[in-house]
Symmetry: C2
Subunit: 208 residues, 2 copies
């Protein structure tokens, strides 16, 4: 297996933490997104979407989405379980993970990518150029604060995002909350449950 | 189990087809989205996000995302498998399902919700009001056409979206393609593989 990563980007960080939690050794290939290496012919052949992370299996299959990488690694290496332990837990993990992606990561990206000077024609990830839309900067900011509120309420009731156990939903939520620092939003003292959870998850060896 | 549905909406249609493929009998509760029933106090208690589908388990747990509903039903009723048959297949199903959601359903929704007269302050699903942004109408349309191209290329190589077998990725893709008719986009004769697949999937008893 080869893992195509970019140390500075939030999306491959999700896969990197997932792999570390599983304790799996993989060969890592660093892709220089700042230099546009994801648009090279060689990388396009691997992943026509021009995004990281990608997990290349030994048979050459390229898995180019966090959801796919998590499903694969959970199947080949079930312990520790990160996608849930029983049907109800699996459901809560998948549902919360989807929310942390749509309401967290996508919200921060909406704000960040529509205002970053270096991304004028790259408002969306992928191979196609889409221009920035200034109104999405503020919408993304408001949605990110709404996401913080959602996590605060949730973490008042449960130690981890999906319930009693650490799961992929915590990884996605952590990457979203840390990505929010790029748009200068951080959970303050008015969100004590979110801060308690953030400190605990950040202290895990997989995150270091 | 109780399934909260809305016959006319694309998102709960995904869960409805998934349930039908599994051959599971569930009690269905119709939620009248046009009348705003999702914003009622009773529904908010069930799902504070004010969206369908919701699967309410017998212990009262409400699963409010398609990803969660699929994970639960696959765990309690593994046959026929809709989330993949082996690790590689599970990876491809999850990755393609994520793409059909992000590049298909979200693209069509971006166009549709930002121009529909009845959704002026409902450009995003959920409990919070976000105003329409006219530039997203055209962006959503272009992204939908790009998604059709992605499916056309994929279905030239494989009978189903994730490979050899029908899976949840086909359900998501079907709901996205049919949702695109709401913005007056349909795959034409220049996309023969997509049309062949669409006819085959539409003919399944679960879709009828």
């Amino acid at each position: 297996m080869k893992f195509y990563d970019c140390r500075t980007a939030p999306s491959p960080r999700r896969a990197r933490i997932f792999i570390a939690e599983k304790g799996i050794a993989v060969e890592t290939v660093e892709v220089d997104l700042a230099a546009g290496e994801q648009f090279s012919d060689a990388f396009r052949r691997l992943n026509p979407r021009c995004t990281v992370p990608v997990l290349e299996l030994d048979d050459g299959t390229a898995i180019g989405e966090n959801a796919g990488i998590a499903a694969y690694l959970e199947a080949v290496c079930p312990h520790p379980p990160l996608l849930g332990r029983d049907p109800r837990d699996k459901a809560l993990v998948a549902a919360w993970n989807a929310r942390c992606e749509a309401e967290g990561l996508h919200a921060v990206a909406e704000c960040f990518r529509n205002r970053a000077r270096g991304l004028r024609d790259r408002a969306l990830t992928g191979g196609r150029a889409y221009p920035q839309i200034p109104e999405l900067v503020e919408r993304g900011r408001l949605r990110t604060l709404e996401f913080f509120d959602t996590l605060e309420r949730r973490l008042a009731d449960a130690p981890y995002v999906a319930g009693e156990h650490f799961s992929v939903a915590d990884i996605t939520a952590l990457c979203a909350v840390d990505f929010a620092a790029w748009i200068k939003l951080e959970p303050g003292d008015d969100r004590p449950h979110l801060r308690r959870w953030h400190a605990a998850v950040t202290a895990r060896p997989s995150v270091q």
